[in-house]
Amino acid sequence: MAVKLRTPLSREDVLKLRAGDIVHLSGEIVTARDSAHRRILSLPREELPFNPEGAVIYHCGPVVRKKPDGWEIVSAGPTTSSRMNRYLDRILGLGVRGIIGKGGMNPEPFRGRAVYLAFTGGAGSLAAESVKRVKAVHWLDLGVPEALWVLEVRDFPLIVAIDAHGESLYK
């Protein structure tokens, strides 16, 4: 049975989850990769284009298509999260409660406050089916893959790969 969750996530939401649980996530998520992480951490909190409290960050650089009335997400699987390990503790310190990615991260910073949710790497065409619309895009000067895409997702199927109790599925 999948656990249904909606963003923003509370501390209670994440403490209930255990490694191996399937989660269907709905609501707003924000993509960020290497450059966006550096920019998030270089700015004062009030200048961030999203509210980090309870937020879920998706390690993803999508394939997009420009439409007359906005953007379409064509393919949007996760990128390798371990590249973002160096920013993890400070990112979670902003109040971020969930990271979506693939390949795993250092488990320690998640303890007591956040979870790592894995999606299948490479399955970008399937992930895009959960994206209902692009709510906004920021920092396109970083390039399409590195920009901050604010996405609305519905029932995004994810697996709790690192929980807030120190458990990890990675071998």
Binding site: V63, T79, G103, G121, L142, G143, E146, L169
Partner: protein, 286 residues
């Protein structure tokens, strides 16, 4: 010229939207063998993503990679002068039309060129041959698996035992990062640069297609077994299938050196081929 560009765009589209049949079969076999719920969750997602890519003609993986081309050019082909320009134009067109993710950024400022071209990109490997036909392999190479590539300059005394240790250790260290189940390309001999090129080109072979040399074929099979015994599994969350295949290519080496190039390919095993006849006819296949 424009026909050649169109055919190249089609080959790029084929490579990124359609995972080849031999790979799909291998993934289905892996799915049948796994009994862990989590390994099956990942393999099910992989197989569905492949179906969606085919049905909707969209890139299966959002990382459409660095566009890489291996050309075997017959020196009597009338098209040699046009090839490089046609490839660059095709990459620009494919970026808009398929679409592809713009993945070429400059090394100093990290600025994105926006169209997958730039200094040295797309990457084109040339090899001259006899005859009047040109064969081009289209190979979009994703970054996550590419980051697990490595070079070892072993001593000749370490030899093939050293190759085994190096490859298995590297695959273990990479865990789920390169999106397993992976395909492992290994190049032995030739020098530092050439061993890596051999390793990458080896990945163009079909799953199950062994090196024609029986002894090398045996090492491929043994390494495959050893890698799968690691238990890394689909996406690094445990399971029986870590690699779908191991491909080894060799060249003679300097007596003092034993270079080993290792290139990892994720399950999104993208490739397409194109043949250009002297009369301008083009065939595209996978």
């Amino acid at each position: 010229m424009s026909l050649l560009v169109e055919a190249l765009v089609e080959a790029i589209r084929l490579a990124v939207t359609r995972i080849p049949d031999d790979t799909v079969e291998a993934l289905k076999r892996a799915y049948e063998e796994e009994n862990s719920r989590i390994a099956r969750f990942n393999l099910e997602n992989i197989l569905r993503a492949i179906e969606i890519g085919r049905e909707r003609s969209i890139p299966v993986c959002q990382d459409t990679g660095t566009m890489t081309f291996f050309i075997r050019a017959g020196i009597e082909s009338p098209f040699l002068k046009e090839l490089e320009g046609a490839i660059i134009e095709a990459v620009r067109k494919a970026t808009l039309e398929v679409p592809l993710r713009p993945n070429a950024v400059d090394v100093l400022g990290g600025r994105n060129s926006g169209d997958n071209t730039g200094k040295g990109v797309p990457i084109i490997h040339w090899e001259l041959d006899k005859g009047d036909e040109v064969e081009i392999a289209v190979f979009p190479k994703g970054g996550g698996s590419e980051n697990c590539s490595a070079l070892a300059m072993l001593t000749p005394g370490e030899g093939w035992e050293g190759v085994r240790r190096f490859v298995v250790e590297r695959v273990r260290a990479c865990g789920g990062k390169p999106c397993p189940p992976v395909i492992i390309g290994i190049g032995v001999g030739g020098g530092a640069d050439y061993s890596l090129k051999l390793a990458k080109r080896a990945l163009l072979r079909k799953i199950g297609e062994r090196n024609p040399d029986k002894e090398i074929a045996k090492i491929e099979e043994e390494l495959l077994e050893e890698i799968n015994a690691l238990g890394i599994g689909p996406m690094g969350m445990g399971g029986k299938t870590t690699a779908l295949d191991v491909k080894i290519e060799v060249a003679h080496r300097h007596p003092a050196s034993f270079p080993v190039g290792l290139v990892v390919q994720c399950w999104a095993n993208r490739r397409a081929f194109l043949r250009l006849k002297p009369n301008g006819r083009v065939e595209v296949w996978q």
